[in-house]
């Protein structure tokens, strides 16, 4: 369970009741219908706590994904009042008063209720070599990293799919590679671990690759892990533009 702060004697601070309207859907059925639940939760309860409360006391056929409860595994992504969030760290209070609309992520095939098919996301990251472990030396807030030895750590991106759901362009074209794959691609270019950056750049340098993004920065707003997908896409474009200009300059010099 997550942070329902209770004092040692175990009783909850004064309960509040919240109404949740949850998108329900059976596998292989097209129709989605909203079911409303009223659930008693503490003042700083998270969306995940409310959903688990519903699952254990109201309707255990409600299916959702969660595992780490602290935004490090990335499988509890969903939409709350239309905004992409990780259920485990999003307080119900952030949704403001009134009933809360809970829907699965957009731009992905819904398997059932709040569970979407993650296959596309993982497939889209493959050509970018799925960067997993990176070199890092800056420690948060200490800024003294340059003296101590660098350490290897997992990438910031937790592959939660919120950016793909938030991007307005992904919904309009299923061939667009998507912000998640482009962020992974930039990480492979910025720190090539065995991969050939030119290979990865050739893959993203396409109309359905990094050039399809129109800089709405929705992905950067939605990203819970600070992986900054928009920054990665823009960095890819900068790298490609620089290489192209360098090529033109070289052509110019060779002709003279």
């Amino acid at each position: 369970m997550t942070a329902t702060a209770t004092d040692m004697s175990g009783q909850q601070p004064q309960e509040g009741s919240r109404r949740l309207r949850i998108a329900r859907r059976r596998p292989r059925e097209e129709g989605t219908h909203l079911e409303e639940f009223t659930v008693e939760v503490g003042p700083d309860a998270t969306l995940l706590e409310a959903l688990r409360e519903i699952r254990s006391h109201h309707d255990n056929s409600l299916t959702l994904r969660y595992s780490c409860c602290h935004s490090s595994c990335g499988i509890c992504g969903m939409r709350m009042n239309g905004r992409e969030v990780l259920a485990c760290i999003t307080r119900l209070a952030e949704a403001g008063p009134g009933p809360i609309l809970v829907e699965p992520l957009a731009n992905a095939r819904v398997e059932h209720d709040l569970v979407v098919d993650m296959r596309e996301l993982y497939e889209s990251v493959e050509p970018a070599h799925r960067p997993l472990i990176r070199q890092d030396d800056l420690l948060a807030g200490l800024g003294v990293g340059d003296t101590s030895p660098p350490f290897a750590r997992f990438e910031d991106c937790i592959e939660c799919g919120l950016c793909v759901s938030a991007c307005p362009i992904v919904g309009s074209d299923s061939r667009y590679v998507g912000p998640a794959a482009l962020t992974a691609a930039w990480r492979s270019v910025a720190e090539p671990r065995g991969a050939d950056p030119a290979d990865v750049l050739a893959w993203v340098d396409d109309e359905q690759g990094c050039w399809r993004c129109h800089a709405s920065f929705e992905c950067a707003e939605a990203c819970p892990a600070g992986a900054d997908p928009a920054g990665a896409i823009m960095a890819l474009r900068g790298e490609l533009a620089r290489r192209q200009l360098a090529r033109i300059v070289r052509l110019g010099r060779r002709e003279r």
């Binding site: 992409e84 596309e120 050509p127 290979d199 893959w203 920065f217 929705e218 707003e221 474009r237 900068g238």
Partner: protein
């Protein structure tokens, strides 16, 4: 590791119909400046293309000789048309300056401050617009 060069063709995601796609643009989920810039750029861009054809149409009257062009001039004395013309200047400023912002940001430089850049674009555009409108109505 060689790249599995065949980029995955995401089979499952149906291409959303035009209406849902357009609605997708306007999903200002957090109402943040980045999305506002994206929408402003689109709207002003489309309006400017619309104006281009309106402008080319009006210019055709020039080839009809001085008589018809004089009637056009009279039309543009009408204050409402003048107000619309001034809006055109605002759209040009917004689209142009936001274009500069994108040219800068889309190479990765200053991408962390893209919201600040758009705030600057908004400020400069409204400033320029005010100056031009005052000039247009001979106030200054």
């Amino acid at each position: 590791m060689t790249v599995t060069s065949q980029a995955p063709r995401p089979a499952h995601r149906r291409t959303a119909g035009p209406l849902r796609a357009v609605l997708g643009w306007a999903r200002l989920r957090g109402g943040h400046l980045g999305a506002a810039a994206f929408l402003t750029n689109r709207v002003t861009g489309l309006l400017l293309v619309g104006y281009l054809y309106l402008h080319l149409g009006v210019l055709y009257l020039l080839t009809e000789g001085p008589g018809s062009w004089a009637s056009v001039l009279r039309l543009f004395k009408n204050p409402y048309v003048l107000a619309l013309e001034s809006l055109l200047i605002l759209f040009i400023c917004l689209h142009g300056l936001n274009g500069l912002r994108l040219a800068l940001v889309e190479t990765g430089t200053g991408v962390r401050h893209q919201k600040a850049w758009f705030a600057a674009v908004l400020a400069v555009s409204t400033g320029l617009y005010a100056v031009i409108v005052l000039a247009m109505y001979e106030v200054i």
